[in-house]
C-alpha cells in the first residue's frame, strides 16, 4: 500500500529525515517509536504533504502512485488520513458541517454525489458510537473548548467518518488518561480491516497494550535504526532506547 524509499526531508535547511525506508501492506499495523526529536512527527507531516517541509530525496508510492506529487487534499481524498498530535480549533464551524464538507469533498473526488442529509446523520450516529464519543460533540465547533481527551477522540471519530485506506496517528496517546487511551485504542482496533492499514506514532509502549502492532520501528536521528515485532515495544519499555541508540551512535 505504502512504500517509502530513501526519504529525506528538511525544514529551513536543516535535514530532519535522512533516508527512511518503510513498507506498509494492507491489513497491517505499524508502530513508529523513538525518542523526542527523532523525526517521528516530521515523517507524518511529510507523508500528509505539509509544505513547510521540503522533500530533498527519495520516493513515496501510495497504492502504486507517486504520493509526493499530490496536493494535501488529493492525498486525503486518495485515502490518507493524519490524526493530529495537536488538533486545530475552528471557531464557529460545527463538527457536523466540517465533516459533511470533508465527506462530500472526498465523494466529489471519487465522482460520487454529495451525501444526503439523512444518510449523513445516520453515518454520524453510527460512527460516533464506534469511538464512544458524545454525539453532542458534533454540534459543537471544531475542537473549540474540547478537552485533550475529546480532541483525540474527535480525531478517531473523523477517521471513522472518512474511512481512510491509510491512517497515520501522530502521538494520539499523548496527554490522554488511561480511560481515554482505552477508548481511542479500541476505536482504532474496531476500525481495522483487511483492506486498510495504520501507522501509529507513539512515544510510549502503553498505547500498544491496546493496539497490537505487526511491526515496531525505532526512529532515531531521521533514520529507522531498528525494526521488530510487538515484543520490541515491550523491550523498549523496560530497557529504554539507550541500548539501541548506543549501538547506532557507535556505528
Amino acid at each position: 500500500m505504502l512504500e517509502i524509499k530513501g526519504l529525506k526531508a528538511s525544514v529551513e535547511g536543516k535535514e530532519i529525515l535522512k533516508g527512511i525506508d518503510l513498507k506498509v501492506e494492507a491489513g497491517q499495523v505499524h508502530a513508529i517509536m523513538g525518542p523526542n526529536g527523532s523525526g517521528k512527527s516530521t515523517l507524518a507531516s511529510v507523508l500528509a504533504g505539509r509544505d513547510k517541509f521540503e522533500v530533498t530525496g527519495g520516493s513515496v508510492t501510495f497504492e502504486g502512485r507517486d504520493l509526493l506529487a499530490m496536493s494535501v487534499e488529493q492525498r486525503a481524498c486518495e485515502g490518507l488520513f493524519l490524526g493530529f498530535q495537536y488538533p486545530v480549533e475552528i471557531p464557529g464551524v460545527s463538527m457536523a458541517s466540517f465533516m459533511k464538507m470533508a465527506v462530500n469533498q472526498k465523494r466529489k473526488y471519487n465522482g460520487q454525489e454529495p451525501v444526503s442529509a439523512g444518510e449523513f446523520l445516520k453515518m454520524m450516529r453510527s460512527k460516533s458510537a464506534v469511538v464512544e464519543i458524545d454525539s453532542a460533540l458534533t454540534s459543537r465547533s471544531v475542537n473549540e473548548g474540547f478537552s485533550g481527551g475529546e480532541k483525540k477522540r474527535n480525531e478517531i471519530f473523523q477517521m471513522a467518518m472518512l474511512e481512510p485506506k491509510l491512517s497515520i496517528l501522530d502521538e494520539t496517546d499523548s496527554g490522554l488518561d488511561i480511560d481515554a487511551l482505552r477508548v481511542v485504542a479500541t476505536g482504532v482496533t474496531k476500525l481495522k480491516r483487511p483492506d486498510n492499514a495504520t501507522i501509529v506514532i507513539t512515544h510510549y509502549q502503553r498505547l500498544l497494550d491496546y493496539i497490537v502492532p505487526d511491526f515496531v520501528h525505532v526512529l532515531y536521528k531521521g533514520r529507522i535504526i531498528h525494526t521488530g515485532t510487538k515484543e520490541l515495544a515491550l523491550e523498549l519499555e523496560s530497557r529504554g532506547y539507550d541500548w539501541l541508540i548506543k549501538d547506532y551512535d557507535n556505528e
Partner: protein
C-alpha cells in the same frame, strides 16, 4: 499561503446593466437642481424649503476627513441627481417596462406577488425612483403603511412631517445634508400601535444608470408596542467609474416597540486594481424614543469600494435596548470604515455591539465605535466585542473604540481580538480533503457565525454565499 492570495477579479454576478428607456436630469448640483427634483416629484412647499435649507447648509460644509479612508476627490457637478425609467408609472405591473421586471427577476427579486414564495414585502428602488411595492394591500388591512417615500409624502404628509429628519437632521453631517437636499425616493414604513408586522419588509436598492448617484431615504416608525423586521439589499452594475451612494435611514421606536433592521450590502466593489466601485456614505440612526423600546441593527457589508457608515442607536427611553451586529468584509482594494454609536440617555438602557471585520488582499478595514453615557443615565450596561480577521499580509485592520461615560454607575465592557487565518487551520482542513479556497470560506463563515445567525434565514444563506464570493477575489 502567499500564492493563494494573488488578487483576481471577484465574481460579481449582479454586475450586468439593463437597457431601460430613461429620463435624466442634466449633470450638476445647484439650487436649480434641487428645485427641479422637487418640482418633478410634485412636492409640497414645505419639503422644497427643507431641501433648499439642507442644500445651503451642505454648501458651507466640508467633506469629513476623520475616517481611516483614502477618498478621492468627488466632483459633485459631474453627477446626475435624477435618473428614472420612463415606463414605470401605474399601479399594474403591465404598465411597467418589461425590461425593468426582468432586471429585478435577474436580481432574484420578483415583483409579481404570486412569484414570491416567502412572506417578504418588497419596495424596489432603481436609480432615483421606487418602481413597485408589493403586498401593500395586504399590509394595509393591518393598518401598516409600506410605500415609497414619494407616495408617503403625498398620502401621509402628516406622518412624514412628524418623523422625517428628527433622528438625522440635515445638519448632522456632510452626506446627510447632501441627501436631504437631493434625495429622490426611498421607503416609508409605519406600524401602528400594538401591531406585529406579519411579514418581513424590505427595500431593494439597485443603481443602474451610469454617472448617477443614488440618494434615498428610508423612514421606519414603529408605534407603541409594534414590531417589524426590515431587510435591505443593494447591488449595482460593474463600471469603471465610481458611483456615489449617500443614503439616510431613520428608525423611530416608540414605547415597547421593536425594530430589527438587517442589511446585506453588496454594491459593486470595483475590480482588483481598485478601478470603479460604489462610494457608500450612509447615515443610519435609530431613536429608541419610548421606554422599553428596542432597535437592532445587523449588517453584512461585502461590497462598495468605500464604505462609511455607522448605524447607531439613541437610547432615550428608560430600559431601552440597542444592538449592533456587523460583519464587514473587504478584499482587493476595498476600504471600509464602519461601526456604531450607542448614546445612552435613558435609565437602565442597555446596548450590545458585536463587530467582525475581515480583511483580505490590499484592503483596509476599520471599526469605529462610540459608547456614550449621559449624566442622567443611571444603571447603563454596554458590552462590545470587536474582532478582526486578517487574510494575507498586505491588508490592514484597525479599531477605534471610544467610550465616554458621564455617569459612574455605568458598566461597560469591551473585548477585542485580532487573528489571522492560520497555516495550521488550513492544513487541518486540507488534510481532511477540503481545498484551501473552501477552507478559507469555512473558517470565515465560522468566524462571522454569531452575526450571520442574527439575520433572517434566507438572508443568512445569501450572506454566507456573498462572503465566499468576496473571498474568491482575494483568495485565488
Amino acid at each position: 499561503m502567499d500564492e493563494i492570495l494573488e488578487g483576481r477579479d471577484p465574481e460579481y454576478k449582479y454586475g450586468f446593466t439593463s437597457d431601460l428607456d430613461m429620463e435624466y436630469f442634466p449633470k450638476g448640483l445647484s439650487e436649480e437642481t434641487v428645485r427641479m427634483i422637487s418640482r418633478r416629484k410634485g412636492e409640497p412647499q414645505w419639503l422644497l424649503e427643507f431641501r433648499l435649507d439642507a442644500f445651503r447648509q451642505w454648501r458651507d460644509m466640508a467633506m469629513p476627513d476623520w475616517a481611516h479612508l483614502n477618498i478621492p476627490a468627488i466632483d459633485f457637478d459631474d453627477i446626475t441627481y435624477f435618473a428614472a425609467p420612463k415606463k414605470r408609472e401605474g399601479k399594474s405591473l403591465d404598465d411597467i417596462d418589461p425590461e425593468l421586471l426582468k432586471t429585478f427577476d435577474k436580481l432574484g427579486i420578483p415583483l409579481e406577488e404570486q412569484k414570491i414564495l416567502s412572506g417578504v414585502a418588497v419596495d424596489a428602488v432603481i436609480d432615483s425612483v421606487s418602481v413597485k411595492t408589493t403586498f401593500r394591500d395586504e399590509l394595509s388591512k393591518k393598518g401598516i403603511i409600506f410605500c415609497s417615500f414619494s407616495e408617503a409624502v403625498k398620502e401621509h404628509p402628516e406622518l412624514v412631517r412628524k418623523y422625517m429628519a428628527k433622528v438625522v437632521p440635515p445638519s448632522d453631517n456632510y452626506f446627510a445634508a447632501l441627501n436631504s437636499a437631493v434625495f429622490s425616493d426611498g421607503s416609508f414604513c409605519y406600524i401602528p400601535p400594538g401591531v406585529r408586522c406579519p411579514m418581513e419588509l424590505s427595500t431593494y436598492f439597485r443603481i443602474n444608470a451610469a454617472g448617477t448617484g443614488q440618494f434615498e431615504r428610508t423612514l421606519i416608525v414603529a408605534d407603541k408596542g409594534a414590531y417589524v423586521s426590515y431587510l435591505e439589499g443593494c447591488t449595482a452594475p460593474m463600471r469603471d467609474e465610481n458611483q456615489l451612494h449617500a443614503a439616510i435611514v431613520e428608525i423611530i421606536a416608540e414605547e415597547d416597540a421593536e425594530v430589527k433592521y438587517s442589511t446585506v450590502q453588496n454594491w459593486y466593489p470595483g475590480d482588483k486594481e481598485g478601478r470603479g466601485g460604489v462610494f457608500n456614505f450612509v447615515t443610519k440612526r435609530g431613536l429608541c424614543r419610548g421606554d422599553r423600546s428596542k432597535i437592532s441593527w445587523t449588517q453584512v457589508e461585502t461590497g462598495s469600494a468605500i464604505t462609511w457608515k455607522y448605524p447607531s442607536c439613541i437610547l432615550k427611553g428608560d430600559d431601552s435596548y440597542g444592538e449592533f451586529y456587523s460583519v464587514a468584509m473587504t478584499g482587493n482594494c476595498q476600504q471600509a470604515d464602519t461601526g456604531t454609536k450607542m448614546i445612552h440617555i435613558g435609565k437602565r438602557s442597555r446596548s450590545r455591539i458585536v463587530s467582525k471585520g475581515i480583511s483580505a488582499g490590499r484592503s483596509q478595514n476599520s471599526y469605529r465605535g462610540m459608547v456614550r453615557v449621559m449624566p442622567s443615565a443611571d444603571g447603563v450596561r454596554n458590552f462590545s466585542q470587536c474582532d478582526s480577521l486578517l487574510i494575507g499580509s498586505d491588508c490592514g485592520a484597525h479599531t477605534f473604540p471610544l467610550i465616554d461615560a458621564a455617569n459612574s454607575s455605568a458598566v461597560i465592557e469591551h473585548e477585542a481580538t485580532t487573528s489571522k487565518i492560520g497555516e495550521d487551520q488550513l492544513f487541518y482542513c486540507n488534510q481532511r480533503g477540503i481545498p484551501t479556497e473552501e477552507a478559507v470560506g469555512l473558517i470565515v463563515n465560522g468566524y462571522a457565525r454569531e452575526v450571520l445567525d442574527k439575520l433572517p434565514m434566507e438572508f443568512a444563506v445569501e450572506a454566507q454565499k456573498l462572503l465566499a464570493i468576496t473571498l474568491e477575489g482575494s483568495v485565488g
